[in-house]
């Protein structure tokens, strides 16, 4: 299977600070992809470059064989590459219903709006109870559900999640992990950044350790690793 996304030698950063150093990776060849690594080493920056929020200084990003570097975020969303950003800030004064309508804004997603809304409600029944409530009044877990729900409304062909369980209590976190597994079973390939390695091992087939803005280690299917080995990667080098 061809990778749905491949990042080739991307260098990117903010102003004069370079965060990503010639990073390369592939997604979709073996299934879901997990990214992990220490804080502040460029995982979010990489996702921002992929979704067009940040212009790389050099390198190529191929989505479905097409170089999307220089494309607008809107065009990238229009192609079906959907990114759920870290920290679920969302639209604080909009209702859940409004967020869902925005998720279906792109012409590609519009025809599937009703069908996707049903999917979201089935996946997160809690949201249906609070459909008209403002996002700012929701709990952290509910906000994360709205973030992911909004992304599903965009009819993703590839879904990127940046630390979906960040800051959630264990029970909500388990529920959310189960929902993410459901999404994956529904046929949407995922790229997930997570600190919870157990969750990544369960969800993904291929792992990348991102360190100092580059891939330090790639773990392909078959090369199963236990928790201890991964921890030593974190702290070892």
């Amino acid at each position: 299977m061809n990778p749905i996304l491949s990042v080739e030698g991307v260098t990117a950063g903010y102003g004069r600070v370079t965060v990503l150093h010639d990073i390369s990776l592939e997604a979709g060849r073996f299934g879901n992809v997990g990214l992990f690594g220490p804080n502040g080493h460029g995982k979010t920056t990489l996702l921002r470059a992929i979704s067009g929020l940040l212009q790389p200084k050099s390198g190529r990003i191929l989505f479905d064989g097409q170089d999307i570097v220089g494309h607008s975020a809107r065009a990238i969303v229009g192609a079906g590459l959907i990114h759920v950003p870290q920290g679920n800030r969302l639209f604080p004064d909009l209702s859940i219903a409004d967020c869902m309508a925005l998720g279906a804004y792109s012409p590609r997603a519009r025809p599937h709006e009703a069908e996707n809304r049903e999917k979201v409600v089935k996946l997160f029944p809690k949201l249906a109870e609070r459909w008209r409530q403002r996002v700012r009044t929701l709990s952290g877990g509910e906000r994360q559900m709205v973030s992911i729900g909004t992304a599903l409304m965009s009819h993703p062909r590839l879904l990127i999640l940046d630390e979906p369980t960040l800051g959630l209590a264990p029970k909500i976190k388990d529920e959310l992990c189960a929902s993410v597994m459901d999404i994956s079973r529904g046929g949407v390939p995922l790229i997930v950044v997570e600190q919870d390695i157990e969750f990544l091992l369960e969800l993904t087939q291929q792992l990348y350790l991102v360190n100092h803005g580059a891939v330090a280690t790639e773990i392909k299917p078959g090369e199963s690793l236990d928790h201890g080995e991964i921890m030593s990667m974190y702290f070892g080098h």
Binding site: S51, P85, L94
Partner: protein, 291 residues
Amino acid sequence: MSALAEILFGGLFQGSLYAMMAVGLALVWTTIGVFNFSHGVFMMLGAYIAWQLVELGLPAAVAFPIAVVVMAGVGWILQASVVRPLIGRPNIVLVVVITTLAAGSLIENGALTIWGPRSKQIPALITGNTTVGGVGVSLHQIAIIVITPLILAALCMFLNRTRLGLALRAVAQNEDASHLVGLNVTALYGLAFAIAASLAGLAGIFMGGYRFMSPVMGSDPLLKALIVVVFGGISSISGPIFAAYLIGFFEAACSYYFGLYWTPALLFGVLILTLMVRPEGIFASRSRGLA
């Protein structure tokens, strides 16, 4: 009786003009997070374009809508030239104050060069006078009092009931998230400016129908609109609307009881008090966002 009627009428009339101006200022603030100091110039330009079209022989019913549409284009162009290139700068609010002031001054002097300093007047929406509650008023002013709430209601409907309006409200709240659902953020910024400029242009046409126009006619309304948004809170579109009418009534009452001379001083007194007690404005919630 006639005192009440005079204050009521004066307040509704001034409030309408202030609301038309302030709403545009608030729209631009909530979507882009900048203050547009060429907003008063938009008002002047709308009036002069309408005047020019009427001079060319077009009937007012054609000239006025054309002027409003042209103003939408002017707003869009101004946004694209002196605001959009600066977006993302850390001190954007201050920088845009300067660039819009500069653009405004250029346009003002341009108008002076093209149309000259002589005062002009454009046709009233409706000619004639009547008396209401013992106070003599022009039909033009009554038309403004009736039309303005309709236009503002239409704007609120647009923002709250349509998908495009939803997109404008979204962009106001989170730019990155707006990009990530595929909104055309630059176009929405342009749209916010275009709507603001059209409303200001319309306010100019209203004003030019009962007062003499001059190239600096927009500066006092801009100041008043600033007071209105500071007073009402810049975080929403309904706050400034209520504040505009409140200030209209306040001014009307002040000038009735204390005379025109004292009105600005009293107004600023109220403004300073408001800022001390509720810095976010009297109708504001604590967040930035439309509707």
